[in-house]
Amino acid sequence: MQGRGGSPGFRFTLYAVLSVVVMYLDQRQHYLEHVRYVLQAAAYPIQLAVNSPPAAWRWLKESFQTREVLQADNARLHAEARDLELRTMRYEALARENAELRGLAQALPPVADRWLPAEIVNIQLSSLRQRLLLNRGAANGVFRGQAVLDDRGLIGQTTHVGPWSAEVILITDPEHAVPVRVERTGLRTIAVGAGDTSSLALPYLPANADIQKEDLLVTSGLGGVFPEGYPVARVTEVHRDAVQPLAQVRAAPLAHVDTDTEVMLVWFRADHPAAPAPATDASGELKHGNPAMQPRPAPPKPRTAPAADDAATAEDPADAAARKRAAPAPAPAAKPAADGAAQPSPQAGQP
């Protein structure tokens, strides 16, 4: 590598070594979070400038909206608000009923603690990368690996957080995988982004798995980012091939990834049973066994209400998973009993 001038060759070697060191530090050690933080702050003005033509176009379109369109919008929003109010009216009663069925003394608060609307500043939608840039950052308390939702379902999670901006990786990004559960059967699997905004792939299902078109996929609560039970996607295509060991399943995300202009950053209660299970360590890999860990005795059967209360709050994710696995089998038998219990509960609720 003797350059003609000598000097360019030497300097190239210098820069090459520098970039390899930077890559190593960024990839392996995560030492560069602070550098990234500063760089993201420096890049934010350019990203705002880049986004200004689409933003100006949106603003123009909005300000030249006709009266009829605005009135129609208003009427639709009123109808929607009424609809939602009707639905939430029953929520309190249902939460109390659920607490009674679980043997809890009080209804649990919702798992979402608080949320923050954020505007989408920049969108990268290609087959290689599906990212968003939001106008909220560490100054608003946003952290890395935070769940991002819209009004229909899951959108993604934050990857890099700057002081005033945060980058979000979408669930449809080819590098993103979200642990999901089939709502109908409780079957758990992983949904991987397929690289376009309208589909997710479920590559790890055996050919005889119980899954069909129109099945709803919700988050399973594993993986440490998303809490359990948020809608993710609806199955659009199930292809079973006699010679293939795995089924080819596609699903369409419920969130309107490509038309949203505003999304929600959500904080969850860490002590809630439905909260995301914490990862085992920073890299998510368990390298050494823990000799201090001993198998625990089976939990006592929940006979009385206070004991059940303890079991429900102190249970760890493994128990929850085991219980969930066992849940589909006794469900039909328990159903008539639940129906029976549902009748006296309004009377109990009245005094």
Binding site: S19, A43, L125, R131
Partner: protein, 157 residues
């Protein structure tokens, strides 16, 4: 004089960066040449002493901030392209634009190859053949782009 051309270089590189990260519909995004690489190539060939390798490295770092999975990835690839362009600048500069486009195609393929390998090593493999498409469009757009860059760089013909 040197200060002025350096300022022009930074301004044109900034414009090229904005064109590179401007949000576009997906089908157009695949076809979009990486203007920043073309711009750095232009400056390295026509004024190898003004920017030199530092331009390539820092332009690559800027790209990393906007769209890199790992910091330093685009920086390495672009530094390599800059090094080749600076080393061979006399040979490339004397060729007509059509033949220069061949060099550009080679440089862009090399650039993408470095990114492809680093993507694989760092665990973000993207194996779609679409990622190589921009090298072709970049080479196709080179003859008119080089004329435009020459105008922007202050070498009015």
């Amino acid at each position: 004089m040197n200060g002025e051309s350096r300022l022009r270089m930074l301004l044109t590189a900034l414009v090229a960066l904005i064109l590179t990260v401007l949000p576009l519909p997906p089908w157009l995004d695949v076809l979009r040449p990486i203007f920043l690489v073309l711009m750095v190539f232009y400056w390295s060939v026509n004024a190898p002493r003004t920017g030199g390798l530092a331009l390539g490295f820092f332009a690559g770092l800027a790209l990393d901030v906007f769209q890199g999975p790992v910091l330093g990835e685009h920086a390495l690839a672009l530094a390599l392209v800059t090094y080749m362009a600076v080393r061979e600048h006399q040979r490339i500069r004397s060729k007509p634009a059509i033949q220069q486009a061949m060099f550009v195609l080679l440089a862009l393929v090399l650039y993408e190859l470095v990114l492809f390998m680093i993507d694989g090593w760092t665990g973000h493999p993207v194996t779609s053949w679409l990622r190589w498409l921009h090298a072709l469009t970049g080479a196709l757009i080179w003859p008119p782009a080089a004329a435009l860059f020459g105008y922007a760089a202050g070498r009015r013909a």
